[in-house]
């Protein structure tokens, strides 16, 4: 039943050695709920999906569709099902998960426990805004949880600390088909970027930002706006795999600078509209399996914050700091978030969200640390799905509801059996 395993978060900076169960039947979950937290596909970057020296439950084999109401688009599905799989299976029938993060490997359970957001957050809100109900197997027994229940607020964005989500009923969103019409435009600088993001009326909007550009071009990038559509395009190519860890120079400053400049110019000056399979638009990196190995064996950090709209100057300072440090990889994203959603520890709130990857080189962790401090000062928050360096004090100040949350967790998990490495590091369930 238990397998001694060594595993890591997506960023591969933190690792864990522990015991994993991987049930293939939902019935097994009630006996496992008091043993350890559930894990999805471990697409969280830091230590949110790690239990070093303890037990955890891998949900990957519980991925069945249980019911679908084709009139209303209500899908009941086991929690280990990947959101990208739902998109592939249901888009041809005219339905998509209402909220999809940037990787299709993320599971329904991981989507709820991090209350993930997508490229449509400005209009559609977060994952929690599209849940009809879910089943929660807590150490204290099974509960059906609906929006508005106290357990709902503790479980969405709740880091798996209230129990194992076994299945959920999601309200899917209607789509025109399994294609995306995407308009791509160059954006010359940060101010323009923020303006364009504020004004965008597209359903899906995301900005790629060149984190190496400085001076006039600070914060330049490409704005992508997408709508679903239908038609015929060649089937997506099979994914490629990164077979080994890349050498250290692969993402060195000159390589990234050159790559970014070329990537920026790829889009013509006047912009363009292209048609893409949905996977290519929503999950551009998933085609390259194990791309995290490009960062070499030391792994990488991702910094992601959301800053209130009036804090554009801080965003500018951050970009300046990042480009000056010369540590950024080509993966940097800027989005506009709409109003926040339910969940004591949910990340999304109105403002600009910036996400940047840094190879784990000298100076990377301290840079992220400084950016975290700037976020706190500006009244923003960092995203716990990405974090691996924040301090307990910082995170508690960013999420003032944490005590309410911790009490709700303790009510269903008094033995604190569900604590993950992130929860331990940030002392989130230490209420005294």
């Amino acid at each position: 039943m238990w397998k001694a395993s060594e595993y890591a978060g997506w960023g591969r900076v933190h690792k864990a050695q522990g015991e994993l169960a991987r049930p293939e039947r939902a019935r097994a979950l009630s006996a496992l709920a008091a043993e350890g937290p559930a894990l999805g596909k471990r697409r969280s970057y830091g230590d949110a999906c790690l239990v070093d020296g303890g037990k955890a439950v891998d949900m990957g084999r519980l991925d069945r569709y249980l019911d679908f109401d084709a009139e209303q688009g209500l899908l009941t599905v086991e929690a280990g099902c990947a959101l990208g799989q739902i998109a592939r299976d249901f888009a041809p029938r005219g339905w998509l998960p209402a909220v999809m993060p940037g990787t299709g490997f993320a599971t329904v359970g991981g989507g709820i426990a991090m209350n993930v957001h997508g490229k449509n957050h400005h209009g559609a809100g977060a994952f929690s805004d599209h849940i009809i109900e879910f089943e929660l197997e807590t150490p204290k027994g099974r509960k059906t949880v609906r929006p508005g229940d106290p357990l709902f607020l503790a479980t969405v964005g709740g880091l798996g600390q209230t129990g194992i989500i076994t299945q959920a009923t999601l309200k899917l969103t209607a789509c025109k088909g399994d294609l995306m019409m995407v308009t791509e435009r160059r954006v010359p600088d940060l101010e323009t970027f923020c303006d364009l993001l504020d004004e965008s009326e597209a359903t899906y909007t995301v900005g790629w930002i060149d984190a190496t550009a400085r001076g006039e071009g600070l914060g330049r990038g490409i704005l992508e706006e997408g709508e679903t559509g239908s038609g015929l395009v060649p089937a997506a190519k099979r994914g490629k795999k990164i077979p080994m860890d890349a050498p250290g120079w692969a993402l060195s400053a000159p390589v990234v600078k050159t790559f970014n400049a070329a990537y920026y110019r790829r889009v013509p000056l006047k912009g363009r509209t292209v048609v893409k399979p949905i996977d290519d638009f929503f999950f551009p990196l998933d085609k390259i399996h194990d791309w995290n190995r490009l960062y070499g064996k030391n792994g990488f950090h991702q910094f992601q914050c959301v800053l209130p709209v009036e804090q554009r100057p801080v965003l500018r300072e951050m970009m300046a700091k990042i480009s000056k440090a010369g540590l950024a990889s080509p993966l940097a994203v800027l989005k506009r978030m709409g109003p926040g959603s339910a969940g004591h520890l949910s990340f999304p709130m109105e403002g600009y969200t910036l996400a940047v990857d840094f190879p784990n080189r000298k100076g990377a962790a301290s840079l992220v640390h400084e950016l975290n401090a700037m976020t706190l000062d500006a009244g923003g928050r960092i995203y716990l799905a990405k974090d691996s360096v924040a301090t307990a004090a910082q995170v508690k100040a960013m999420y003032p509801d944490w005590q309410t949350w911790a009490k709700a967790c303790d009510a269903v998990d008094p033995e604190k059996a569900l604590v993950t490495d992130l929860v331990k590091r940030l002392e989130l369930r230490t209420t005294t």
Binding site: M1, W2, R27, R64, D89
Partner: protein, 245 residues
Amino acid sequence: MMETWVILGATSSMARGLARALADRGAGLLLAGRDMADLEATAADCTLRGARLAEAVKFDARDPSTFGPILERLGKEDGSLNCACFVGSMPPQADIDADPSLIEGVITDSFTGPARFLTALAPMIEARQMGCIVGVGSVAGDRGRVGNYVYGSSKAGFHTYLSGLRNRLTRSGGHVVTVKPGFVDTAMTWGLEGMFLVAPPDAVAASILKAVEKERNIIYTPFFWRYIMMIIRSVPEPIFKKMSI
């Protein structure tokens, strides 16, 4: 061509993989096993993936009274009648050594129970002059080893049975595929020591479906196990008996 498949042992993740692949192409499915709640979930899943029909049916290899109703239900379907059998059990050899009465159960689950079911199905395939039977054996049946020789011998018996059944059904247009998996990443092997080259269950399911389409007789899956077993079978007994692999 309308097809209906009975999947025996449909709670196995390999079986689930095959059921999904069959559902994708619109087959009818009777998902047979002991855990009805789990089979119902797989049935719902297969229906939503495009199965023409997906029903959970009770099957216990140790209770032959469960066989008749399944065959009766199957007989109501038009087109080809098919069966894939994933049933098997592998208690630790040490448990069997301590309690030899466990042997009957292993043989019934992995060999005689399925054989009895398939023997009753054979005339239906003969009558329609078409249909395929997939029997999942194991590389463990290719040579008895100290670590699992009771399980291995049940699989060896099943292999021999399948070979004879193939010989019989080929005369009337039916076909039998013998599948010999190596190590597969399923509930049966989760956490066991000494596993290597472990294959994902969906890959095994895909190779089974391909073997059905190509009317292969005996497949090893993944394919390289054919060569591994060739070597293992060729070790002379005086040496083999002293080895612990």
